[in-house]
């Protein structure tokens, strides 16, 4: 085999294993964080029995899911019903592959960039993978052959595509300033000229709102609004397949937080770090940690918002997407274009 290709593949395999481990651990522990933070906000204790501070709770949950009976109701359309959870989880995990976690580490005499893949079209690829998530949801709802599921699946797909637009349009502002679709270029640009959030606040707000809707999180968790739709598209699922919907939701939250941090909060950039004159590896680790803190901040916001803003009604949700976010995003593009044209940024 071609030695260059071989080196790329070996390096990628190690990184992928690491990223997978970190993402899945984050996903598992996010359930713990969510329950603990929710408890804290509501002045309760939350899970605290399994291990110190309930830290082994995700492990216990995982084992429980594994050993739970899985019921496939006779009225479902089996081939699609069995496939749908996988169709949801794969794109959710895949999006993380182009996120830059940090600069390069110096290992074994060469620079190892802290990202799985750094491609020309990073931003587009993320949007493309994210747009694949709609299939699992729509098909899960359809194949369950249950009115709640179908209604939930439909609502959710309509919601996903509506907010995907707002998200895509908000990102255009970032691209205008970075002049590239490569995520590491976006980070480099912000390191030089200040974080995007400082002068693209409307875009940031649109992006973050759309990110909440894209991940089906409160206040936009209508597809599974338990008061009207039981559990929406995953009403008929149980056992491990059910947990896949949850894994996908949390994986999407992690990716959305990574994106928000990369696009608007400077990614792994730490202001003033260069002046300290740290050696390359130490600086890289500090930046990696900074990125982790930024992502953790957004994950915390997810839980925080959940207990702050009540759920929207479906018509309100669609109105917000089409009549507020979309026009705001369009005006924002013209505004950023104007600023860039004037040379103010």
């Amino acid at each position: 085999m071609d030695p260059v290709l071989e080196r790329v593949i070996v390096e990628a395999a190690v990184k992928i294993a690491l990223v997978f481990f970190v993402v899945l651990t984050t996903v598992a522990y996010m359930t713990w964080v969510e329950r603990r933070v929710s408890a804290w906000i509501q002045d309760r204790r939350g899970p605290n029995r399994v291990g110190p501070f309930g830290l082994l709770q995700p492990l216990a949950d995982g084992i429980k899911f594994l050993f739970k009976e899985e019921i496939t109701p006779p009225h479902v359309y089996r081939p699609v019903y069995l496939l749908a959870p996988i169709l949801i989880l794969v794109p959710a995990l895949l999006t993380i592959s182009v996120v830059p976690f940090g600069p390069a580490l110096r290992l074994f005499g060469r620079d190892v960039p802290l990202r799985v893949a750094d491609v020309d079209n990073g931003v587009l690829i993320i949007l493309a993978f994210a747009s694949m998530g709609v299939y699992g949801i729509a098909l899960a709802g359809w194949s369950s052959n249950n009115k709640y599921s179908l209604m939930g699946g439909l609502r959710s797909s309509a919601q996903l595509i509506s907010y995907e637009l707002a998200m895509g349009l908000a990102i255009v502002g970032i691209l205008m300033s970075a002049g590239s679709l490569r995520l590491s270029d976006v980070v480099a640009r912000q390191a030089e000229h200040g974080w995007n959030v400082l002068w693209q606040l409307p875009g940031f707000v649109v992006f973050l709102t759309a990110a909440f809707a894209e991940t089906n999180r409160l206040p936009f968790d209508l597809p599974e609004a338990e008061t009207e739709l039981v559990a929406g598209y995953h009403t008929e699922y149980s056992g491990m397949r059910f947990s896949m919907f949850y894994m996908a939701e949390y994986a999407n939250m992690v990716t959305a937080s990574c994106l928000a941090a990369t696009l608007y909060l400077g990614g792994y950039h730490v202001p003033g770090l260069q002046r300290l004159g740290l050696p390359q590896n130490a600086a890289a680790i500090v930046q990696l940690l900074a990125f982790g803190i930024k992502v953790a901040f957004f994950l915390f916001v997810y839980v925080w918002v959940r207990w702050t803003i009540p759920r929207f009604r479906y018509d309100q949700l669609m109105n917000l997407g089409w009549k507020v976010l979309l026009p705001v995003a369009l005006v924002h593009i013209v505004w950023v274009a104007f600023i860039v044209l004037m040379g103010w940024a």
């Binding site: 009976e69 009225h75 179908l150 209604m151 595509i161 895509g168 349009l169 979309l326």
Partner: protein
């Protein structure tokens, strides 16, 4: 092209993970069939009618509007990347492009295609 190889591997691992988990779960979980467990749930009464009834056309209209705006967004991406080089000329041509689409958007709004209540 080589820089896409990791994504391909990632795709493989990402597909393998749920498959492997499901196989393990299938191997270890109990399976005790019971007629009551497999009944459709619909507020405690037997379900009436087929779930695949007809649904409002609004969803379809939303999907078409989505495709239109999706294509528009795609057009915006290369433009945004080249924007600094295109300058005032680029600004003007995108204002025209967006202007034409905003007409359609305003039409959809006025005709009530975006109403849900």
């Amino acid at each position: 092209m080589v820089e896409y190889a990791p994504i391909l591997i990632f795709l493989g691992v990402a597909a393998l993970f749920p498959a492997a988990t499901l196989v393990i779960a299938w191997a270890v979980r109990p399976s005790r069939y019971n007629k009551t467990k497999s009944e459709a749930y619909e507020c405690g009464v037997p379900p009436s009618g087929d779930a695949r009834a007809r649904y409002p056309i609004r969803f379809y209209v939303i999907a078409v509007l989505f495709v239109v705006f999706d294509v528009e967004t795609i057009f915006l991406f290369p433009w945004a990347v080249k924007y600094r080089a295109l300058g005032l000329f680029g600004f003007a041509e995108m204002v025209v492009f967006l202007g034409i689409l905003v007409i359609g958007f305003a039409y959809a709004w006025r005709k009530g295609a975006l109403e849900w209540a």
